[in-house]
Symmetry: D2
Subunit: 338 residues, 4 copies
């Protein structure tokens, strides 16, 4: 961490700050430029809040050299993490496709979709029982009944289930019956929920917030990891932009950047990103080629009458054709679809 | 709501959809263009989820004419809402300044700040007891002890208190001792929390999410209003952008736009938006001139040693000088500072 | 085009506008809702400036149904355009890789790079003679001498050359000796330059502006096409965002969206988008998988000492390895590398 | 400038780079951290292209401490620049309002508007003779005839004229008859045009590009200043964002930031930013309160029939009322309207 002082900072003030930093165990390197005086801190700077330093009236800016995350940092975890969900693997060369409807609507619907995606080689079943909806007048999900349907589909097909949890209460009640707990984009910085997710013994899939930086996503993962839960999966699902033709802009460069910075698996959700089923196939292929460890794809047996997000859902037949196409790309990437 | 059909939509499919919409009580106007066929729906379209229509394979696009919010809509509430916080008024010509430290750090700190901002004519005291922090290693707030300090400061000064609540549990436990419940930007779409906030009997201040549209902010307010709580205050606090010189870009055009669309009071937080105390004064004045109903300003007695966000906090003396300057602007706007 | 009138618009005013539109040859469909009155225009609406309609005080909003571009519209050009550059083909199943240094620095440099990229199966040589630089103190390009070097490299290798033109004067002087005229991102809306580019007999490659929408890019192409030049290539090169880890966010969803809306070839520049050579390979592969018709990749023999953009340039050996890897992806996409 | 080296950089490579920098006259300060080795450069770093340093494979990042602009830098020009346009002053306490139609449409139109805005105390007349339009099918301006009309209006009213120039050819032909040469947002990084603008003897008003950072805007000003033209005025006119309710988000925080970084006058264009005449008044007042040195406001005598941008134009009577309202704000800011 580098601290640049203002031109008019008094020597006594600078000395005071240096002393306080040395007392915290840092070594200090100084550099006097023509217009600026700056110091470099040597030591574990993750324990310092840069805001606290920036607040000093004598400080012009504070520059990070070291990343503020430790447990999510590949520097300290050189090997890829392989998340194991009841035998199914994600990361470290194992490619995983999570598929299913946006929301659970009925037993028939979920069973039909689950059977079909299983036949197309999907590895996990997704489905929303608790739905974050922009409007209070939109369908809010089936709740506990929806979870029961997912569990039944798991029994029938053997597919582990991934589902979103929106509050601590839901997490406490239901995490034991869910295989992968999803934290949605809108809750990526619901820190109280992240803290609780750090205490459970189930993998947590964190979706990137709509305007979250790469570092903020990693810091949210750090919350879960710091709580003792080592199994975190990250998911890129598009960011807000002036672009009007898609719901969000899928930031595929996030995939290789994240893979370089962290050992955690990184998957991509082309359905929510684009909001358009026609774009799912090209973006799914592109995600594989960019190095993703998996995909999350919305599949609906009757998107015309879906209760939510039908426009972005592909039909089971289309999903099957996408799976066949991406298989070749996964092979080119030397990964194993499971 | 206008539904534009695809060129290759079959007549039978269109007729089927029209029938289903008429069954829901809508009147339908048709228009056949050279390249497009479209229908207009007449009726209360807030009950339709446009996603459901868009999902139909025969639909090219769905265009809103009517807003999807009702209780937050000025069309149905022509008069400005005046929120009354224990006699202190916000909105409808009453201008209100909420001031205080980012986080509660000690009794001495809060009492000193509260006494000083009261002397400078602030109307409410803010202070964070539960803090949403990007890093799990940063100071997370004093919790319940922090609330107790705020309440003591209220007793001493008479200033009602505004504080952020981050989870349903906290809301249930503490809403009775708080005067205004703040929902932070990161929780603007924590819909479970918004639903609970709709059930309490205290004003709710909702901060705009970092990449929330105006309509999404109003839909979040609609969640609270739909729950039965009529007292909602909106707060613009900057949006994410490529601009690197400020933490967020303060979107002051949101103020007159919101004032036209809703009857709810709209306040502005120049401290969090800019992240820089030097910008608080010009942006506070600009907010008043843009038509805001109030301001939220971070004040710290010793920003150099603040545990959080010191860089954006002004000292009490600076706050006093800002209050003196904006008084003239408030008067020009024909509003009453209280 | 749909025109929604304000609630308080007078019947006489509406009738006046309707008459004026009918006089322009439009048929008008009317629809009276509960809260809104709207009309649909049937006819060639590209001749109407929607701003002119929006300006009327009685108009609430104007909604496009038809796209405002004609010559760039796939609706009227269902077949893919194949741009032929001296026998080398781009689009319609032909995949093309344009490679070379950011700027021409010396004859030795360009000849060495050109020979190597030719050996690696690049189809065209790029190199900047006129450089748009943010700082007036940065290297501005070798100018005419740079062009001469490119032409010599073309003679040696047979590779057609692609180079940026920054002004009408340069276009007039040099378009005859250039094979593909590049309009840079910063000049995407330099309309006077686009108009002149419409008059020449050489293919024009237009790079998407840093905050240009898909429609704006297509309208810039329309300028060139409307001038009589049918050979336009579009290039996605990243858009501005809050994301700090990359220079720009590569918007790969733009590829399938553009391919659906226009018959023009669409290529991708992963070098300028990301600003980082490490990201070129994954993003190049992803671009192929997303359906791009070609790539533009910066290659430098000595990036450590490049006069411009060295950080995003790959070395010839790395380029060779990228070409080998993407070959398999191009084949999967059923395209022919030439 | 600080250069952070990669962990695996070899000592010999680092020594080589240090030597090369010392040869360029820099003093070097070193700092060895636990995970990083970095050096600080002392000297005039504006002569170094940071891209060139970043390109070195041993460099992890390059951090600016000093700004890359000199002539636009307040550090070297502590006093506000007052631009004098034929006796009319902008900056340094003089507040200036530039008003007029988006485009010149007829002699009658311009004379009527000019007379009225003069009566309302506008200081300069604006009007477009050459218009940058997104569509090639939209009205492109009256050209030279439009300039003649502006000059006639100047003769009648005494108001100096501000008009946009889109190409070097236009600049060469017409700069002598124009009082303030405007470079539009889309041409902010048309560097060839900026260079030519540096050679003329007329003030240049540069509008901020739609996704330009503060620093890029200052670098564009630096192009003009470096050419020898000292009279540059900057104009904030809104930036691109996900916000759909306005055309662009007016970034008023840019005003105090620019005023701190440069001595050049900063004005605000609320008309183009918002795209909506209803928002002009609140944003104009807010701009004054934020510290702007002037405003640029579109006024049209008959916006319903304007050939361009009518939706954002106010009528002369509304303009008069805005001028009366902002007068009080200008006075509060201790500025003189001229």
């Amino acid at each position: 961490m580098i601290v640049v002082f203002k031109k008019d900072a008094k020597v006594t003030e600078i000395e005071e700050m240096k002393k306080s930093l040395e007392d915290k165990g840092f070594h200090i390197h100084e550099s006097q430029g023509e217009n600026h005086y700056l110091i470099g801190l040597v030591g574990d700077t993750t324990i310092i809040d840069p805001d606290v330093l920036k607040a000093h009236r004598i400080v012009e800016k504070v520059i990070y050299v070291q990343e503020p995350y430790k447990k999510a940092n590949r520097r300290f975890n050189p090997l890829d993490l392989v998340v194991d969900v009841g035998g199914h693997k994600i990361g470290g060369g194992y490619f995983s496709v999570i598929a299913g409807p946006c929301s659970v609507e009925s037993k028939e619907q979920v069973l039909e979709i689950a059977t079909k995606i299983k036949a197309s080689n999907a590895g996990l079943l997704r489905g929303g029982a608790f739905k974050p909806r922009t409007s209070p007048y939109s369908f809010q999900g089936m709740g506990k009944d929806g979870l029961d349907i997912l569990i039944e589909a798991k029994k029938e097909t053997g597919l582990p289930i991934v589902t979103e949890i929106m509050s601590i209460k839901q997490l406490e009640k239901y995490h034991e019956i869910i295989d992968v707990v999803q934290i949605g984009a809108r809750n990526m910085q619901n820190f109280d929920l992240l803290k609780e997710a750090g205490k459970i013994n189930k993998p947590v899939l964190i979706k990137r917030g709509m305007s979250a930086t790469i570092q903020e996503l990693l810091m949210s993962a750090e919350y879960v990891l710091a709580g003792g839960n080592n199994n975190v999966i990250l998911c890129e699902r598009g960011i807000r932009s002036f672009q009007k033709e898609v719901r969000n802009v899928l930031d595929l460069s996030a995939v290789p950047i994240l893979k370089a910075k962290t050992h955690l698996p990184v998957i991509v959700d082309p359905s929510h990103a684009t909001g358009s089923w026609q774009l799912v196939e090209p973006m799914a292929k592109a995600a594989v080629a960019a190095g993703a460890d998996g995909l999350m794809i919305e599949v609906h047996n009757d998107p015309d009458n879906a209760l939510c997000d039908g426009a972005q859902s592909v039909k089971p037949e289309k999903f099957d054709s996408i799976m066949k196409k991406i298989a070749a790309y996964i092979e080119l990437e030397d990964k194993i679809l499971n």
